[in-house]
């Protein structure tokens, strides 16, 4: 009897702790949304105001009326979409070479690729900046988009390669007999079979591009080319006596909506693949 009571209370404590931890982890999200719906007085109030007394959409109206915000939203979508397509296709091609084709030097090249994961991308920004400077690409979206086209992201190639390697060899062998070439097998047989891993890779890439702050800071030099993170970060101006927090948080909510949507639909695959690749973020 005593033992079961102990078990039950243990379970209750476990649920309480888990729920409390979840609330703490998700709290910034709640606070962001709550603040965006408050008045300026409520947002800067010295008392705790959990919920706005009357829901205000003024901040959203102000943000959506700001042409700078809309332009940076478009910039983010434009560059993320363009970079995503090229990166995804090139990664799919390289993963195919590493998993479905036997060629001399494959293991060496694969090892090289894995070892580049040790090099932090930021250690290369200085010489890459000079390279883009000489091409005359500073102040354009090119440095943010083009590098991805060369199968940017070794971890992603690795993730996709692991999935492609699991497809039975007979699939492409029978296609070979029917006279198909590698390009057809890649596009028509292999890629449709790895749709879920492709979606996972696309999600990771999207999140990376959408959150990217350092790249746009370095390469987009005029405010007309700001992407969302750069635009949102400069909304906070320490010289203002009071910060327009509802407006800033409304812009922040609109910035995170795409991330939330993507995470909601892809969370199962994301959580699984983090363990496969052991990658960060």
């Amino acid at each position: 009897m005593k033992r079961t009571a102990f078990r039950v209370s243990g379970k209750v404590i476990l649920y309480v702790v888990l729920t409390f931890a979840s609330i703490v982890m998700a709290f910034p999200l709640f606070w962001m949304i709550a603040t965006s719906l408050k008045t300026l007085q409520e947002a800067n109030s010295p008392q705790i105001i959990w919920f706005p007394s009357k829901i205000q959409f003024d901040a959203y109206i102000a943000v959506l009326a700001d042409p700078d915000f809309l332009r940076s939203y478009f910039n983010s979508c434009f560059y993320a979409a363009l970079a995503l397509v090229g990166t995804l296709i090139s990664i799919a091609a390289v993963a195919y070479a590493f998993s479905r084709v036997e060629w001399p030097g494959r293991d060496l090249v694969f090892f090289l690729m894995l070892s580049t994961m040790m090099i932090p991308a930021q250690a290369l920004i200085v010489p890459q900046y000079v390279f883009f400077h000489r091409l005359g690409w500073i102040g354009s979206f090119n440095p943010l988009v083009i590098p991805g086209y060369f199968a940017g992201g070794a971890a992603m190639v690795f993730l996709l390669r692991q999935s492609m390697a699991q497809i039975p060899k007979e699939m492409d062998e029978s296609a070979f007999v029917d006279g198909a070439n590698h390009l057809q097998i890649w596009w028509e047989i292999v890629l449709p079979l790895v749709k879920a891993p492709l979606a996972t890779v696309a999600t990771f890439l999207f999140i990376g591009y959408w959150n990217n702050l350092l790249g746009p800071l370095i390469y987009t030099q005029s405010s007309k080319m700001y992407t969302l993170p750069v635009y949102v970060a400069q909304l906070l101006n320490i010289n203002n006596p009071t910060q327009p927090w509802p407006t800033i948080m409304a812009a922040a909510v609109l910035t995170t909506v795409p991330l939330m949507v993507v995470f909601f639909f892809a969370q199962r695959y994301i959580l699984e693949s983090v363990v496969i690749t052991g990658l960060k973020g």
Binding site: M25, L29, L82, M118, P120, V126, V130, L213, G281
Partner: protein
């Protein structure tokens, strides 16, 4: 045509695709030719072509965006290259200036050390704590797991970091408001809060002392004694607290580490726990004697990755301290300093030297970790 940045980038993207296809064909053809010279069969020649053709985007990109930049930056790190001036050879001047004279670089080193020694253990233990909780196989596990991982997705976005800045506001930020309310309503919490403040300020004053090479601040904190009842943490306000905000963000974003630990816990054979339970070991005992030793490889992995990540923290520091010139150096990571030092005056030569120091440091850290690993990582029990 180049007036419109969108068309310009679209055209360049198409040109890049053309360039990649062309270089793929060239590389594939070259590989096939070599295969033919070595007398491989027709099928093997075709496979060689296909392999290099498909792998070419990465190979070409590796040469253009990794090998060439690394070699170029190695050369520039010995020069005073500053766009648009031509580089002049300096020998080791950049490196001596960086290591011996540069105060801000030294603070970025000390900050990284602080984040590794104080922040990383907190982050790893919190991740382990969450993983053990989730491993109890509760109902709704997926929802909990989602909310624990969510910060990793959001945590690097400037928008969410701005919300943290709002919450961490020392005056009327929600975190300090909650701390004040709890301190006023519940006396033990007030003492706990003040004890934590005292410890944090002493530790931070010590690290700032290492950085400034004098311990005046540490003495002051010590002489001020136990904090008064109305004290709250001064998150984004003083050098004593600037690094703590970054650590809070690190701990909040521990979701990836948690998933790694969760995988590790799943890999522990059930029989071990069952056998120990039969022998009368409680769950606390089993955690220390079975789970924790078998998790050491995962702790090791998270430590290596976490240390390298601590060197590279950028977004949080940019959003929290961008506009605060006095506070920022007390929280700089090495990558943040690299960005600032290089792009303020386009000092390519100096920036290249910093990049190489960062690279070598990462290499050294990893090698040391792998050496030490043999001492404490257990791949099997007994």
């Amino acid at each position: 045509m180049t007036e419109n940045p969108y068309y310009y980038t679209l055209i360049m993207a198409c040109a890049t695709v053309g360039f990649i296809i062309l270089s793929s064909l060239l590389l594939g053809g070259l590989a096939r030719l070599i295969a033919k010279l070595f007398g491989l069969t027709k099928v093997k020649q075709d496979n060689t072509f296909a392999g290099y053709f498909f792998a070419a985007p990465w190979i070409v990109g590796f040469l253009i965006f990794v090998v060439a930049p690394m070699l170029a930056s190695l050369y520039w790190s010995f020069t005073n290259y500053r766009i648009p001036n031509a580089p002049e050879w300096l020998w080791f001047q950049n490196y001596t200036r960086l290591i011996l004279e540069d105060k801000e670089f030294r603070s970025s080193l000390v900050n990284t050390l602080f984040l590794t020694v104080i922040g990383l253990p907190l982050q790893i233990s919190f991740a382990l704590f969450l993983a053990v909780l989730l491993n109890q196989k509760t109902r709704g596990e997926r929802v909990f797991r989602m909310s624990f991982y969510l910060p990793v997705i959001l945590g690097f976005n400037a928008a969410v970091l701005l919300c943290w800045r709002l919450m961490l506001n020392a005056g009327n930020g929600i975190i300090n408001q909650i701390i004040r309310a709890l301190s006023n309503g519940f006396l033990p919490f007030s003492y706990l809060n003040r004890a934590i403040i005292f410890i944090v300020e002493l530790v931070n004053a010590f690290f700032l002392g290492i950085n400034n090479q004098n311990f005046i601040l540490l003495n002051k904190v010590w002489e001020a004694g136990f904090p008064a009842a109305n004290r709250v943490p001064m998150w984004v306000q003083t050098p004593l607290w600037s690094k703590m905000s970054v650590i809070i963000l690190m701990v909040w974003g521990c979701g990836s580490m948690m998933l790694i630990f969760l995988a590790g816990l799943n890999n522990i054979p059930k029989e071990l726990h069952e056998a120990a339970e039969v022998d009368g070991a409680g769950s606390w005992m089993r955690f220390w004697k079975i789970s924790l030793p078998l998790l050491t490889p995962y702790i090791f992995y998270n430590t290596v990755v976490g240390m390298i990540a601590a060197l590279q923290i950028f977004e949080p520091i940019y959003v929290l301290y961008r506009d605060n010139a006095t506070l920022a150096p007390t929280a700089y990571s090495m990558v943040y300093y690299l960005w600032r030092a290089t792009f303020r005056f386009n000092e390519i030569g100096y920036g290249s030297a910093i990049s190489w120091v960062v690279l070598v440091l990462i290499l050294i850290v990893t090698i040391i970790q792998f050496r030490l690993q043999k001492r404490w990582v257990q791949y099997e029990l007994y």
